[in-house]
């Protein structure tokens, strides 16, 4: 029980520190923090699928794009209320995830990875080609950050990045809390069971395929949320969001931070965004640098940052005693 309190206290401290960022840091740092939270939402949802259930998807960029284009099209054609827009984006992502997931969860392992990859690229080529609706390779432009209002009351402007930051922080906190609850729910435990031994779970009465579909859709919803928020941040939606190299980002981030904890993908997101910025400042070749880091992690530190750190801390007292 005390560990639970300690985690809650740590989470509260982090939340407080995050609240202080726009007041203490400059514009660029605030922007970076927003990007980290967006990737964090994307990755923390994604890791429910990869870390918790053991399914490797290479197509979640499609749901990210569905969120972005859902919000964008809703904003351009219906209403520019950001809350309704985010809801529309998430709804679009969920619908797409249901459709794609239904076809993909029949398979596991390599087949699953390839299928999700292929369907992700299908969305990419659709968005790329349907120029009349999506703006094609120029992206969907004209997305505005209108003030947040609930039933016309309590208008809160989010036009500046320092204001929008809190809008993102709200959804970020909500996402992390939701992911935490899912991980520790009976549903989440059943997912771990499926990861460890799908057949045994099936014998124990878990409807494996339906659970896989459910977590696929849930992680798609997180991706859609992140995508719709990015559309608001950048005021556009781009086909690249659905590209498979973008789908690989949450995989890399989860791996970088560690698959087996809630904090893993979040730590990974922070490192990923920071590293990209730092490497890009010195050289254009950030892909090379990241590829090498990835190689090192896979060859030597498969627990990621959090896994390696916690292993270190667990080992240290044992050595003292010995």
């Amino acid at each position: 029980m005390s560990a639970g309190y300690r985690n809650a206290a740590a989470a509260a401290a982090v939340l407080l520190a995050l609240c202080a960022v726009p007041f203490l840091a400059g514009k660029f740092t605030t922007y970076l923090a927003i990007r980290i939270m967006l990737l964090g939402i994307f990755a923390v949802g994604y890791n429910l699928l990869l870390g918790q259930t053991g399914l490797l998807s290479f197509g979640h960029g499609a749901f990210y794009a569905a969120g972005a284009y859902g919000l964008g099209l809703f904003g351009v054609h219906v209403s520019n209320n950001p809350l309704l827009g985010v809801a529309a984006g998430v709804a679009a992502a969920v619908l797409l995830a249901l459709l794609v997931g239904y076809l993909c969860v029949r398979h596991t392992e390599i087949y699953f990875a390839m299928l999700t990859l292929a369907f992700g690229m299908m969305v990419f080529s659709l968005v790329w080609n349907a120029r009349e609706i999506t703006g094609g390779d120029d992206g969907l432009i004209g997305i505005v950050r209108a003030p947040v209002s609930i039933f016309g009351m309590a208008r809160m402007p989010i036009g500046k990045d320092s204001q929008f930051y809190f809008f993102v922080l709200f959804f970020f906190a909500l996402s992390v809390w939701a992911a935490h609850r899912i991980r520790h729910s009976p549903f989440g435990l059943a997912l771990s069971g499926i990861r460890e031994n799908a057949r045994r779970s099936e014998f124990a009465g878990v409807p494996v395929r339906r659970y896989r579909l459910a977590v696929f859709v849930v992680s798609g919803a997180f991706a859609g949320l992140a995508g719709s928020l990015e559309a608001l941040l950048e005021s556009n939606a781009r086909p690249f969001m659905a590209h498979w190299t973008h789908s690989a980002e949450p995989v890399l981030v989860s791996l970088l931070g560690g698959l087996s904890s809630l904090a893993g993908p979040l730590v990974g997101s922070a490192i990923f965004v920071a590293m990209r910025e730092i490497i890009q400042r010195f050289t254009e070749n950030w892909m090379l640098g990241f590829g090498i880091v990835l190689l090192v992690i896979i060859m030597g530190f498969r627990g990621g940052v959090t896994g390696t750190l916690s292993a270190l801390f667990r080992k240290a007292p044992a050595r003292e005693r010995g």
Binding site: I110, M114, A118, M122, N129, V251, G291, L294, I298
Partner: protein, 288 residues
């Protein structure tokens, strides 16, 4: 009718490239059990190395086609011998991500060495003309490509089914432990197969140099997706499936480009979804 024939010819030559890439991919998957994301990068490296031999060393196209892919084999050797070999036993995501790391590295290396812009190779003199087919000019080189595909397929078939090496490769792919127990040096064999698969992909890249006209650092990323789709439709690990799948995809995308230009890729994905719903193991895959 005439235009239909031309669309079919364009589809066949497209399909042959996909087949050359998919054959290496399928061979590596069938034997090593690893799905190699970096295979598209080998295709790209093959094209760039061939280009360099052609334009800088002043050699002819045949020399480029011979030397370029051989140079890429060195990259394939390094990837398997020093990295992939150590991850056969660990979870699948790590294997896939290891090959993905090489996609990042190779794409970036190509940008460093050859620059980020598109390169256009010199005009071919040999096989460079065109002959009239049903009233329209058709490049001889495309016919050469259409012939190369089945030639490679036949070669692979003979290698795997009729030679001593083929027998060993088949044995090792069906039971690693047993083959190792009867004295097959499985790790060496795996390295050999991986390098051979690399060569096939790079050969596809080398052949693509006069065909695609422009070389760009992203050219591997597109073809690897098509090769994956082909592998899924044909049945993962089945060379016969990859051949048929590549033909189907090539011809279908040519028809798509001709008649539904907005949704050309979309048709292929619909086909893939359809195959998966009806025959999840692919056209020639074994039932699991």
């Amino acid at each position: 009718m005439q235009s239909l024939v031309h669309v079919c010819l364009a589809g066949l030559s497209n399909g042959m490239f996909i087949w050359l890439v998919a054959s290496g991919l399928t061979l590596i998957f069938g034997v090593l059990g690893v799905l190699n994301f970096a295979h598209g990068s080998f295709y790209m490296l093959g094209a760039y190395c061939c280009f360099t031999v052609l334009s800088h060393l002043g050699a002819g196209y045949w020399a480029g086609l011979l030397l370029g892919p051989l140079a890429v084999c060195a990259a394939g050797y390094v990837v398997e011998r020093f990295f992939l070999r150590h991850v056969y036993r660990i979870a699948l995501p790590y294997q896939l991500l290891l090959t993905f790391a090489f996609v990042l590295i190779f794409d970036n290396l190509v940008k460093i060495v050859w620059g980020g812009g598109a390169l256009s190779p010199p005009q071919l003199t040999f096989l460079g003309g065109s002959i009239p087919i049903l009233g329209r000019k058709y490049p001889v080189y495309n016919l050469f490509i259409i012939a190369m595909g089945p030639a490679v397929a036949l070669g692979l078939h003979l290698l795997l089914e009729r030679t001593w090496y083929g027998k060993i490769i088949r044995a090792a792919s069906s039971d690693r432990e047993m083959s190792s127990a009867i004295g097959v040096r499985v790790p060496t064999l795996f390295t050999g197969v991986f390098v051979f698969g690399t060569w096939l992909g790079a050969l596809g890249g080398g052949l693509a140099v006069p065909y695609v006209g422009l070389l760009t650092p992203g050219m591997g990323e597109t073809i690897i997706i098509e090769a994956f789709i082909v592998a899924v439709i044909g049945g993962l690990g089945s060379l016969k499936g990859a051949f048929v799948g590549a033909l189907v995809i090539g011809v279908m995308s040519a028809f798509g480009t001709r008649f539904f230009p907005t949704f050309d890729m979309f048709l292929i994905f619909i086909l893939m979804a359809g195959v998966l719903l009806v025959r999840p193991q692919g056209l020639f895959g074994a039932t699991r």
